[in-house]
Symmetry: C2
Subunit: 231 residues, 2 copies
DNA sequence: GTCTATAACGAGATAGAC
DNA sequence: GTCTATCTCGTTATAGAC
């Protein structure tokens, strides 16, 4: 207690630094070979450590993957919140598209991390519950926009057939959006559709087909905004 | 030439059989370990062949991957066409959703093949031009539906801002849809969004969130139909 | 207590000699 | 086509430095 304020601080700092170095190197390898081939040994080798030393920082390869996933969700969420803050005074459609565009831009800037969180699952890896909360961060921003818009007049309510109502109410309860179930259900669908647009561009499905991708995407995002009732 | 009519036939038949066996085993390994770890050696081992023998059928790992991708596109396309034929006399919205549902069902039945063609790219593999045509097969079905609907009155034209018009015209020219550029552009966006919905369900993003997935999906597909102008 | 290094395990891939 | 020697991997046990 008496001696160790700084010593503890130094140790903690070193630990944080090494942890960050491991994740950085792991991200580099992710980009080069994909998540399936991420190897603790290769990371250790590149860092001049021995592989067993890594286990002080990450108890297993899967834990390292989990950390990378959490970081990716966080980084994306932060970018979305930032983009939203920058247009906080604009109308709801503009705020919506700004967040969608931020998601797209983050994905284009971090394609391998995007693939890690929204691409095909990594064989043999199963994400723990803890990633779910991190994943919701972008969603919260979109919910906020809809909630604000819903307080004002002029927002349309998306259609909700009877057969979907119970499910929509359940989803609303899970997300606690404080929005009409029809809007919440439409939001979840729009959310998935947004990632379809981003994924198609990122994974090459638009090659030789869509060239003006930014304007194409913005227009599609506006369509999604209409789909959730924004005007 | 003189002796070999039947012998050639037998040889050709054997070749087809072995090729099919190789692809089947490769698909099994795809499901188990993912495309990144697909190994010609492992396939050969499982078939009781020696790895060098495989090269008589597929000159490289990438060629085997390409064959699997082509098969997957074909299988999906066939399923979509089949589903469309079954409701050929129905209204355009019903035909549209039937094809969308067929895509979803195929994806749920063949998750690893879906991941292969619409998931994250396989590191180190780049698809040859030849896969593009196969990929378009589902798209052609959707285009047919829109073209039929467009011949009748009552189809709405999606909005098309001026800044998107040149791109929409270009896309129309590439796909040769014989549809208004606004419809073609909306179709491409809807297409990407459809795969967002399917991918989210398949890759676990709907876990603990959406439970009645079939009805949820059908409703979203109807929304996509509205987006391209179908009524 | 915290870390790193050595060594080893069982499993699998790989290269080359034969 | 086969065999073997040599790699890789994730992971653990152990010992010793700070």
């Amino acid at each position: 207690m008496t001696t160790s304020r700084t010593a503890q601080g130094a140790r903690a700092r070193a630990r944080i630094e090494v942890t960050a170095a491991i994740k950085d190197e792991a991200r580099r390898q992710l980009a080069a070979d994909g998540a399936a081939k991420l190897s603790l040994r290769a990371v250790a080798r590149e860092l001049g450590m021995v592989s067993s030393a890594l286990y002080r920082y990450f108890p297993s390869r899967d834990d390292l993957l989990t950390a990378l996933i959490m970081d990716a969700y966080d980084s994306l969420g932060e970018r979305a919140e930032e983009a939203h803050r920058a247009v906080a005074d604009a109308g709801p459609v503009r705020r919506w598209t700004a967040v969608c565009e931020a998601v797209r831009e983050w994905a284009l800037a971090h394609p391998h991390e995007y693939a890690l969180i929204y691409g095909s699952p990594v064989p043999g890896y199963s994400a723990p519950e803890t990633t779910v909360a991190a994943a919701a961060r972008v969603g919260r921003v979109l919910i906020d926009i809809l909630r604000d818009a819903h307080r004002e007049p002029g927002m349309a309510e998306p259609p909700l057939p009877d057969e979907l109502r119970p499910e929509a109410e359940r989803i609303e309860a899970v997300l606690a959006t404080d929005l009409p179930p029809a809007v919440t259900a439409a939001l979840v669908a729009a959310w998935a559709q947004l990632y379809g647009l981003v994924g198609f561009e990122l994974f090459g499905q638009f090659d030789r087909l869509v060239e003006e991708r930014e304007v194409f995407f913005r227009h599609a995002a506006e369509g999604l905004a209409r789909g959730v009732g924004l005007r």
